[in-house]
Symmetry: D2
Subunit: 464 residues, 4 copies
């Protein structure tokens, strides 16, 4: 499971290129497949872009930062298995009769095909056929007569789905958040300018300070000297993605007023109350389950041990020879023997997708002498796909979409298995159910998705 993309917009009197680089490095966890920037070239009076496949440091290894001579730009990190050609890297850049437009996008437009068809029928032609292209074309079409602000508003009215956009129109730079606030976007002040980014850690990394979240439906323009807000869609609804809190965002980020780290600890605490267990020690799955495990240990009174050690050099990009790839869980995560031997162990993680890795870890703990292994999960069972930007495996691979909790327990070979409840989840985050997107754990989506509607009601009842 991986978050698709991180975005950043910077207006700074000096070091624009370096500042964009730093924001992207801080958001690297949101996408490692491609990275890029677009910036206004004051000399050429046009937007230029530089992008490539790979991690931020690789893409910019030979980049000449002195070529970034302006003070406004946007950046993007990309996650996708599908991206194979550099052309698809973002920001996407378009030259139109009403100026240059550059777009960086985090999220998914669910009616993208429809919008594209409509634009094609209107006579537009597509190079990438991407959602960003549709967005830019809708803006450019409307702008001529109605102005930029109304053009963006009009495009937002048409688009369904989730989006945090960073957007350039010639030398102007903007951040835009979808009307439900599904994906995060935050505004900050830095030494000689302003920044908008997917997460507050990008502001931190620049030594800046958080001003506030971009509001759902809002567009914010930043300059070196200030920012200006455009309330394009007066939205009262909220549907913040709960997975940002549980797993995706960095623990040191603050999203919509909630500090991720604290939320995760509370998830662990509530999990301990809802799913208590008689055991000797709490062990986090590194690094994803650590904050949850702290909370679980605190609330349960059980001691915490770093009983599983991660090999920090086996990254997602690690290339493993084919014939050893499958069974080497222990090369990635290895038990601390003294923490495990002869003990009743509780392991805490953020979620279970397919269950295969968890089964391997449970068996590993047993091999090293764990008397009992109890699994506690800081999110409700994932029973339905995400349509708004999380790259989950297909429904068939979501174990909880076709198995009961007891069935899952057996499959992962645990002595007990407990998930946090949806109620516990919302309490931990500190938001009302209606303020969150709970699509993947309820099957009910905040935005209409073809063929999904209420299909899962029955199943959901079943697990209650």
């Amino acid at each position: 499971m991986n978050e698709k993309c991180g975005v950043a917009a910077v207006a700074s009197r000096t070091k624009l290129g370096e500042n964009l680089y730093v924001t992207l490095a801080a958001l690297q966890h949101r996408g490692q497949e491609a990275a890029g920037i677009a910036f206004y070239d004051a000399d050429g009076e046009e937007i230029k872009s530089f992008k490539g496949l790979g991690m931020v440091d690789g893409v910019f290894k030979n980049f000449d930062f002195s070529t970034v001579n302006g003070s406004r730009g946007i950046g993007h990190v990309y996650y996708s298995i599908a991206i194979s050609v550099p052309e698809n890297a973002q920001p996407a850049l378009f030259h139109t009769g009403v100026g240059d437009i550059a777009v960086g996008h985090n999220g998914i437009i669910t009616n993208a095909e429809e919008l594209k068809k409509e634009l094609m029928e209107k006579g537009h032609h597509f190079v990438q056929g991407s959602e960003e292209e549709s967005f830019a074309y809708m803006i450019a079409d409307f702008m001529k007569e109605h102005g930029f602000e109304n053009a963006v508003k009009s495009a937002m009215r048409k688009m369904k789905g989730s989006y945090a956009f960073v957007l350039m129109h010639d030398e102007r730079v903007f951040g835009i958040r979808d009307p439900l606030g599904i994906r995060p976007l935050i505004l900050g002040k830095i030494e000689d300018g302003y920044v908008i980014a997917s997460e507050s850690v990008a502001i931190d990394a620049l030594g800046g300070e958080i001003i506030r979240d971009v509001m759902p439906g809002e567009m914010i323009e930043i300059t070196e000297d200030g920012y200006r807000t455009y309330e394009l869609i007066n939205s009262k609804e909220r549907a913040h993605c709960f997975f940002e809190y549980v797993y995706f965002a960095r623990a040191d980020s603050i999203i919509d007023g909630k500090e991720i780290y604290k939320v995760r600890q509370r998830l662990g605490e509530i999990l301990a109350e809802e799913q208590p267990v008689d055991a000797d020690v709490v062990i986090p799955i590194p690094d994803s389950g650590r904050a949850h495990a702290y909370g679980f240990a605190r609330a349960s009174g059980l001691p915490l041990e770093e009983g599983l050690m991660k090999n920090r050099y086996i990254a997602r990009t690690f290339i493993m020879p084919k014939n050893i790839r499958e069974k080497l869980i222990q090369l990635k995560v290895n038990p601390v023997k003294s923490a495990v031997k002869g003990r009743r162990v509780v392991i805490v993680d953020d979620s279970i997708v397919r269950g295969t890795t968890m089964r391997k870890i449970v068996n590993l703990l047993r091999k090293y002498g764990a008397k009992e292994v109890h699994v506690r999960i800081a999110s409700p069972p994932i029973i339905a796909p995400c349509y708004f930007g999380i790259d989950m495996t297909t429904r068939e691979q979501l174990i909880a979409s076709y198995s009961s909790v007891e069935e899952i327990r057996k499959k992962i070979n645990a002595d007990s298995l407990g998930y946090i409840s949806i109620d516990g989840l919302t309490r931990a985050i500190g938001m009302d159910k209606n303020q969150l997107c709970l699509g993947c754990v309820t099957g009910k989506y905040p935005v209409k998705v073809d063929g999904e509607d209420t299909r899962f009601q029955e199943r959901i009842e079943k697990w209650k």
Copy 2:
């Protein structure tokens, strides 16, 4: 001086990918900066493309040819100092409301900016801002109501300049030549299909046979089973680029019925008649001046010697350490001592651009004992830039644009210097003056170019 680009279109029942690869390898001399192919994917019912920076073998090193499952495609090799990003490689691919369009282009549209502006005003948006994008958009706009054939015709009416296009519209594949026939394009039959390419050597390389040149103003569609002609612009005018004959095309190519090798020999023969010299030996500049030198030697009765040897490993792409880059002509071309010593030498080349290399060669021959060095050039003095696809240096760098022949002779330190006349040139090619583009040697262009018109008349008179 370098030719910008080579194009090829192939329809073949089998091995489409391999066949496109071979055509591009055969046309590699027309562009070494980038290479790419586009092909119709029968399964996906769309056009796909694969391209990259570098020479053909490098770009396709890891390409899986088995992914080319269809029978129609186009290919392109690119020459440009300016290309820095893979996005600019061709073929360019567009997704429109009336189908996918892929374009490969050799030539220059002189009113490209105007067309682009017009299309932008009509509401179109550009990703690359390229001439190919304009061409594709004009076609797509017009096609809906008037059909593909009329759409291409309409676009050709609007475009000024030179072009040999290979074009795909969904599964259909075409070759198009500008109404003056400035750039070459030829049709051939291969074992299980048909091919259109910039030069006949691509047909040869596939083991095929030349059918005929694509006519100026004509579009030809090829399939695996045959070809069909569309006379889109009934053009009587001709303006074939004479430099294809003198230098750019491969000597084993046949363009517009003329075999390049034979033309070059005749150029040498006529040059010997027009600019006779009392000398001992004729030496070609390898490899560009060899065929001309053969003709010169034959007509003059002087013996021919390969008196200058080329280091075949010092290619254009050879990376030379900075502080030795300038003076190392001798690493590239080295005299055969016995051929030079004590002799009165005639060296024959196709053209002089800046004169710096020629001066070095003359001095080198003197150093090794040449008693006299006479320079004979198989093209008239280049006094004006090319606007139709030849990457000449700027006018300031064309020595003949500001120096008389005698001044050039002094600069290159030759005992005598003789250029072929325009009349001799046209006789050698075997065409009438009116059938050739002689813009760069007369200053009079076959297509109106802003600010160029008759500006050079005066100067031309001067050199006569």
Copy 3:
């Protein structure tokens, strides 16, 4: 500060290449500059090697594992700023009159220059001039007359310093540990064979089981069916490097019977007793100080928080643009605001070398509202260089070599600073002072080092 190198030897009936790969991946933390393997090629009746610069996955990306047709081999990961040429990667391979010899080495031979000079005087010639070359030549020289076992024994008598060697002589494979046991080396059983490695995590990763440590002065030979011990030097002395316990080894390793994780927790506990502090929260420096902080928190009764978050993508190999490289501590480590704000914070780490990073972290915590910042270090002050395999900065850069604890406290801007005592350190490890190498914290080395002897006595008295 970085450990130089990790070694492994494997004898396995199947999958030798893959098994060596896995051991190296498990030991990757001991060296990321180069990696390599040597293995006996049964067909060619010789030892072959494959090695390259970079991390394990990069070096073996295109390696054909099927070429490893034998059942015995050794592997090596290398750490060194100095290595610039692949030739220096290990294992080093030598062809001698008494067979092929391959060597992988972790440690430093302090009299290497002397031995090399001696061998040169005897008429030997060096290709790399390395310690491994000297070792191999000494063995080969002596072997002819006295046999392999005696040859190794003789070489060990001559070598001073630290070493854990993996060694091949034709098809035989061995592990050797220096007489003081400075560097670790451990023996394990895997499914179809045996393994010797720097750390037990390599055995774990292969799904194997620890048998025991290689003893100081011992050589162990492994085959697919068993192992055989050679007590080459009957050593009673011990000088295990204490830094393996404090920092270098992976926490899930067991070295000389001590589990690293447990030792680190005890270090934290004893540190809390020796250097108590009145504070609100304990925060580990990730990831190096985590286990120590757990112990500190437990013993002090203070709550533990993951108050500093590490950017997992900013690895040591991360290439940062020059002009932003210096000040970006916050891109690497970022505070969790709620854990810090308004609190009296204790941060726990394993050591202080120069003090510059610690100062930045203290200031960062203050910036985010920490009321007080107390620093606790789980090792005594490092006052002298290491001569046995740890790549410390030069003495001038060791802040504790010229500053008192109070001076360091001021420099790092902490409210208090406390180091564990040498006595506390040895108690935590559970060994006697005489069993450990404490050279870098006492200035007294277990092996004579020219010019070092007692030089630090005075200074040490001062800090007591």
Copy 4:
């Protein structure tokens, strides 16, 4: 068929690194697999080396030439299919008790295994096991007692085979040629120093002047100020490799007083006399047969045409997709139609090895309308392998080792086939039979090769 290696030694007051680079670029035709230099580092008082796999420009792309601070060095280009690891690149560098030794080698020591065994028995150990290592060790062993000059002499006495060595001993630099002068080596004067190289073109490229060939059995030492000769082996015998004249050396080189270009023309002239033909046109195989064809045309009075055009971008290193690799001769060499059609053609080349390429070319000429195709070869039939540095295919692949001329003619589908005689060959070179190595065309070798001796007498008789 490819020449193994080129060597160069330079002593120059300035720009040593650049000068070595230029010599290697000029000798690139002698080896494209690897390149390297070794130079005396005056600061470090040692020899340093830099080398890598690939062509000269690739290997030195990122090399910092300013690090070459001395005035003496050697360079090497390598040809070998076998080289797979950078360690095998040359110059080879050794650190010995009597100083540093660096060696670059062109040739083959036929008793290398014997010498190596002997050195191993004496107690020496080998890292690469190469001939260069044996040579260096023999020198170092003997030098201590007898001095450098005698040591080299002693080594030369022991080595059998062919060699042109460039050699460094600490800051001194030498060139050495085997007692029969099999491989070429020449001495030159450059602006601020001296140079020794495999071919005179390297001297040309530096703008220098030839002094003379290094004599068989001679060692020459060069400094910035002069050179000194050591007649180490007083050799009266000569066995210059005739293939250097026929094919390997560059046409603009002068070897042992003979200009290659002139020799090749004479070969063509004599060939025309010995093997006359009634035909219409002479066509060279580009580029190898061009000079021979010039001579043939001149002597026969037939016109010369460049009737076969080479695709200059299909280099030996060109990577062709597998399934098109075999049949694409026409991508590499393509006929000029007018030169071929309806004509009786003579094609001239330097040699025939397997005959497969020649057969394809003959068929290609017939396809394009050649009435007759006559093949003339400027060397005698190759009936036996080369043991002295030419990488011929195995004997089984030498078509002339098992086929009569008439059989070969049939196989290559020619109307007639004629080889130059051995007598004609020696006359063209201008040397006596006894001055040349004619091993591969006579089966009689100038140096004893195990199992070769007179084995071929019978067969040779047969072809006479």
